[in-house]
Symmetry: D2
Subunit: 306 residues, 4 copies
């Protein structure tokens, strides 16, 4: 049985690169576990630290509760034991998040990634969010990773809340997808007395995040250009900043294309080009128009990837 901290009292080490994997669907919009498995076989050969399952790119808000858990179970079964599985267990209510975190742990997740609740965003102040995460972390059988993704939630987990939560023994870090590098540096600075790990939430600012002390990244683009994102990590970790910069430059436009410009449908389209199963999203997410596909392709080819 995993404990919240090992015998030396140290928190789980989550450093490294993770693709937040996409969920392939059949034509009837069911989860396509066969295609998922094919993708996992390929990901297993890339020096990822692990996978994030049920992040925003996994269309988790479109999956039923049972589907969310089942996908995590299948991923854990298919993935080599040394790869971490971080499972998105965030729900709107504290009660449901507690329960989902437990189920994710039972399904084999090594840690859970908990997005900020956001429907009542006007009331989600530090007090509410600290209460939420504390309750979840208190009861979760596995470590908790905070998750701030304002583009989807319209809400930034406040820095003071992060600092308070960093002191909880079962909260090991944060995935910050907002891209505000000053904020990221400040979080690292203010939590430096804790064993608290910050992961960049996107490949677009991965180098910059490393430069200010981040220890890894959860990057949508790693679903497509996994080797390259891991190479960028390696260049940063070994201080090869000039080479890192040159590589970072070439990743920005493809990254924007598969995230805020065109979203998950573009990520899945690009996956097809690079040998993975992408396919369609669940509705209401729409397939890309032909014009959008052309622009997407251009964003990869103009940077030398296609």
């Amino acid at each position: 049985k995993r404990t919240q901290a090992d015998s030396a009292g140290q928190r789980m080490d989550i450093r490294g690169i993770y693709p937040p994997i996409a969920t392939p669907f059949t034509e009837k919009e069911d989860v396509d576990y066969q295609k998922l498995n094919d993708n996992l076989q390929k990901y297993a050969k890339i020096p990822f630290r692990g996978l994030v399952v049920q992040g925003s790119n996994g269309e988790y808000p479109y999956l039923m509760a049972e589907e969310r858990v089942e996908v995590v179970r299948r991923v854990r079964q298919a993935l080599p034991r040394d790869k971490l599985v971080i499972a998105g267990s965030g729900c709107e209510s504290t009660m449901a998040t507690v329960q989902m975190s437990e189920q994710m742990a039972q399904a084999g997740a090594d840690a859970v990634l908990v997005v900020t609740p956001c429907f009542y965003r006007g009331r989600m102040d530090s007090r509410a969010l600290i209460h939420h995460y504390t309750k979840v972390a208190d009861s979760s059988p596995v470590p908790v990773v905070l998750y701030s993704v304002p583009a989807n939630t319209g809400l930034d987990l406040p820095v003071d809340a992060v600092v308070t939560l960093s002191q909880h023994p079962n909260i090991v870090g944060i995935k910050d997808s907002g891209g505000d590098i000053t904020r990221i540096a400040l979080i690292i600075h203010k939590t430096s007395s804790e064993d608290f790990q910050v992961l960049a939430g996107s490949a677009g600012f991965l180098l910059a995040a490393y430069s200010v002390g981040a220890v890894g990244g959860v990057c949508a683009l790693a679903n497509v250009l996994g080797q390259q994102v891991c190479q960028l990590e390696e260049l940063c970790l070994t201080g090869q900043w000039e080479a890192a910069k040159a590589l970072q430059y070439r990743l920005i436009e493809p990254n924007i294309a598969v995230t805020r410009k065109f979203g998950v449908a573009a990520l899945k389209q690009a996956m097809e080009w690079f040998g993975y199963h992408g396919g369609s999203c669940r509705f209401p997410l729409q397939p890309l128009s032909e014009a959008d596909v052309r622009v997407l392709r251009q964003d990869f080819s103009s940077n030398g990837w296609l």
Copy 2:
């Protein structure tokens, strides 16, 4: 069996005032059906057109799918047959919304209220939203009411999408909570050839909405001051605009207090003062601080309600 339109081809008439009812919980955060029932007995005596169940004030994002349906079933059983039950059936995916709408109809809902999906708000353009609502309306056994609530979703259902959707025989109207009166008037103007009904989503702009052609309101404040909101409707419908204005003025600050200033916790607190069961919210929604309660009370008392 209800059909989508009656034999004369007319759409369901949804004119009137509806409280979007709150969901009382026990101390263990379970739904308290006894307290719910008590509230329903009181609401039955107010000249509401019906109730909205599982609107934003019902904390629907915090209820499990089964709870959402069960609450609707109980409300339908307790409520006199001549009162409409409009049930919130919106989910993030089209698939889940279709399924939930069916379940709500089976549980006795007279119509379903479908909020805009919003997690991938950057991709929720008119194309996606028209597709979503069309699929839901095509399959729903009961009429569909559109629901735009940008304060919670960060997304306004675009006017052109509303106009297109107004032509669907199973879409009967919209609850618009954004409060942009120009937009509301434009929607009414552009859908005038259809039998499309616009409900104001708040008591704060109810008079103004009537003045430009709205036919009713779904008003959080009606949970507390139900008679008064119905009286405002009556004054507007009978052209007593001066009296309407005087009453409208006195409702604005209490309304702001129980909505955007303090949210659902304040609504439930105020319900207690006016003889209803309110109680706590599910977490992460927090109870009001004592200072907030004082301000809330002042917002009612300074307008002569307490």
Copy 3:
């Protein structure tokens, strides 16, 4: 010499409809006073209460300080004495606004319209804005009208500041262009003990504003459809709400077109169609594309105006 309040202590009556006039330019981008004069002759025949000179539609941020004053002087000279001239005198600093208000009064303005300073919008809280307007009103030789236009300034003059400022003897009202009808009604309610007058800042919500107690409007569209906007006022004042509604509907799309959809360039284009001198804007405002002109025309013609 005008005094701040007449002998009976009453504030200046500013009720009625005002076009915020556009500034015609020559090909060399100089103010074209001849064309301005031609427009004024036509406006004099419309039952406007007066004109607003140097509102947002007058491109006042693009005029030199001397030009701003000179345009007001020319308008005052050309306009019949019974028409009010309300001159925009807002600058970023309190000092400059005080000075400009004095110059506007000397140039013949009957009142000054003072926009919220906004460059340091993060610091423009109620304290700063109350201080600013109080200093300006203390020294202005003519009455002051507050002006909140968040689409341009990114800033809403807070309701509590408006309420405080309404007690100043030399502040007679507000032009509110935000279109938040709940806010407008609340301002009227909270200032009801004062002789404080609220003008709608746009023709799009003029009927709704009258329905909650506004006493007039400063409407860009009145530059083009002046008679019609005055007719809408008349219908509201005489309680002909059904006819008012029908007319209001037809004004919304043309109004959106000449304001937030296409801006001042569209207002000037539409003026040409209706017999006024419009012409080009100062740069960097661009002329409309041909495609935009077609859409603009359609927004007028589909509502029966062209």
Copy 4:
């Protein structure tokens, strides 16, 4: 006479650190040239590349046109010849900006910094902004630096506009104050074929900006901790990233305090603590409350600067 590019066709080299200097005022709100001069004597001893005069922190929107020019003239006279003077010459209209740029050059500015016009922000698309900057750069006697500061203007100069403008021979770079590090890296990547220089607009993300290829910074905090900001530059340029990181961390909170948290009044207060003349702002900017001063002090002392 300076030419737009030297004989070798190279653009002016603007690499390095610049404080955007504050403007001291007398008790009567006049510019205090004596105090300004005292500050300049101290800044001359710090290894700045030069000074930015009439940036946002110089309260330029509160200065009359003549004051803006006069301050630049005095700074140029007082400053050693080897220090660059970059003068803010941005106005709302293209015409006024052209004229002001000329006046700034005559007053001795080595380059002009041109903020995006923003009052009609809804119309300030790439087409308008490219037109504006091209006209200004065509006529300016000295090189032009673009300036994007969305916190004040509510507007980000679009990347595609920056890329187009980078090809103009008289546009040498951009000051980007938005802090979006992905955008900054993308601008550097997309303008790499040009001799185009990117300056970070704040000390909060200076290290990160260097890590992706920026060549300097215009940093409000350099008015207070000038030596330290220059030291951070030096550490970045010599690849001492660990030491740079440690220093960067300690600058973030003081920087936030003198910019978005408390603004120019805080910058001037902190200047007093570090031996410079700060003093009051012009109104409507308010002095800090005592409580704010305590928080401000804490933001410096908790990072070891006081």
